[in-house]
Amino acid sequence: MASRTEGGLTTPVRATGVRRAFGPAVVLDGADLHIAPGEVVALLGGSGSGKSTLLRALAGLDAEAGGDIRVTRSQAVVFQEHRLLPWKRVDGNVALGLSGPGVRERVAAALTEVGLGDRGRAWPAELSGGQSQRVAFARALVREPELLLLDEPFGALDALTRLKMQELFGRLHERHRFAALLVTHDVDEALLLADRVLVLDGGRIAQELDVRLDRPRAPDDPGFAPLRRQLLDRLGVPLARRA
């Protein structure tokens, strides 16, 4: 069926005609997706439009997905829930699956990068939601992936924490230059962080939008409004208030 991950690619994601059906319900119906090295692509779409299904197919977590899927093996995933193992301390969670010399130093460096350098010995249950999600980021980044797959990584956080995390994501990307697929339902978040925004609808990529705004960006930048309008229109959200 679908070809799985492969290493040494110039393009981290090259997926064509991705299909997935659950019984009679066709969720993905030939979606095409390419991501260039270092590029941040946001994937928007209504609830149940198949965003997570597409991400799981790319992550190699869905053996039933069809189509031609070529994804770099150097990848890491951040889910909406932190998915830390409750029986491992924070540093043990970050080190999961790592081997070789210098693991301890790499783990410490990754935790410091997300601002949790002093919490390595804590249990996940002792952390707040935002801190746990930062550990999940450290766990992904410590592998130095070419590709980061993120499924609504800020979706479960309160508004203030979400803003801080978005800022952290921008900083981490600046430094590590990974390619990223950011699944989100938040139009502003997509415009804030992505180089390109895709809208998933009817099982395919229904719209593609380049975001040519200077960084760092803020939602009150003048260039934001027309793009936001365009995307909300595409997502079928009526604009209650005329800006």
């Binding site: 995933v77 998915r83 193992l85 409750p86 029986w87 699956g97 249990w123 249950a125 002792e126 592998r143």
Partner: protein, 276 residues
């Protein structure tokens, strides 16, 4: 505003901690009152002759008998025999339960083949198998050990099975994205995830082991605590019979406490979880 609002909330909380601890200590003492009173009543009743000695000797007399039998080595010998039976039975039943529970919990084919017959067998109270077991393995050591192993097997099997089944699939998936192969996932996710259930199963299993031992040792035993009691009954040594009961109770209590300590040490991560 915020400081004003927060202070009165925090202050009583900190102040309440000490009285709460004191109240807990007082309750613990309160709960000791009635057992001690009963014991005192028993002792007084026996000494006054209200309770006939051949029916129920005074606790002090039972302790004396215990001291005497411990001194001449009789008690230790029989205790060692009983412990050996329990240990071998626990080992056999435990290994079988772990192996079959893991096969049924981890593999779909294992689930289909192993679980249905075990579920059916569960409906039989294992002690009711005694007559059949006597026909099958006789009335010797094999009978006692088989009975213990059977008692151990069921609670442990079900908890291992449920423990593996209840593991959050999303954690297994996250481990997969971190590059863990199936064996590593088993070691880092499945095993620690199933450990709390495994401890629960072990505690129930050990309880069942003692119960099975008590029943097994009343059938044609020539040594062990049960034999000690049966023999004493024939010679109307009620103090030795009651002593045997004490020993059984103590064994159950000690094993439970021991297991709880091991559990607390092993599952350190759960303490943080409860506090949160």
């Amino acid at each position: 505003m915020t400081t004003l609002a927060e202070k009165p909330v925090e202050a009583p909380e900190a102040a309440a901690a000490a009285p709460a601890a004191r109240a807990r200590t007082r309750r613990r003492w309160q709960r000791a009152v009635s057992p001690v009173a009963l014991l005192a009543l028993w002792e007084a009743g026996a000494r006054a002759g209200v309770i006939p000695e051949e029916k129920l000797p005074a606790p002090s007399l039972v302790l004396q008998t215990g001291w005497r039998l411990a001194g001449d080595g009789t008690l230790g010998e029989h205790l060692a025999d009983s412990l050996t039976r329990a240990g071998i039975g626990l080992l056999i039943g435990g290994v079988l339960a772990l192996a079959l529970g893991a096969v049924a919990g981890l593999l779909r084919l294992g689930d289909d083949l192993v679980d249905p017959p075990v579920q059916m067998a569960r409906m039989l109270p294992h002690l009711a198998l005694l007559p059949l077991l006597i026909i099958w393995v006789g009335i010797g050591e094999e009978l006692k050990i088989t009975l213990v192993a059977l008692g151990v097997f069921f609670p442990l099997y079900f908890n291992v099975y449920a423990g593996i089944r209840d593991i959050d699939e999303r954690l297994v998936e996250a481990a997969r994205t971190c590059g863990l192969n199936p064996w590593q996932r088993l070691r880092h996710v499945v095993l620690p995830g199933a450990l709390p259930a495994l401890f629960l199963g072990l505690r129930l299993a050990i309880g069942a082991a003692w119960l099975s031992l008590v029943v097994g040792e009343q059938v044609n035993a020539d040594r062990g605590i049960g034999f000690l009691m049966m023999e004493a009954r024939e010679f109307s040594q009620t103090d030795v019979v009651v002593l045997g009961l004490f020993v059984y109770a103590l064994l159950g209590l000690l094993s439970d406490v021991l297991l709880r300590i091991v559990e607390r040490r092993t599952l350190t991560w759960r303490r943080g979880l409860k506090a949160a």
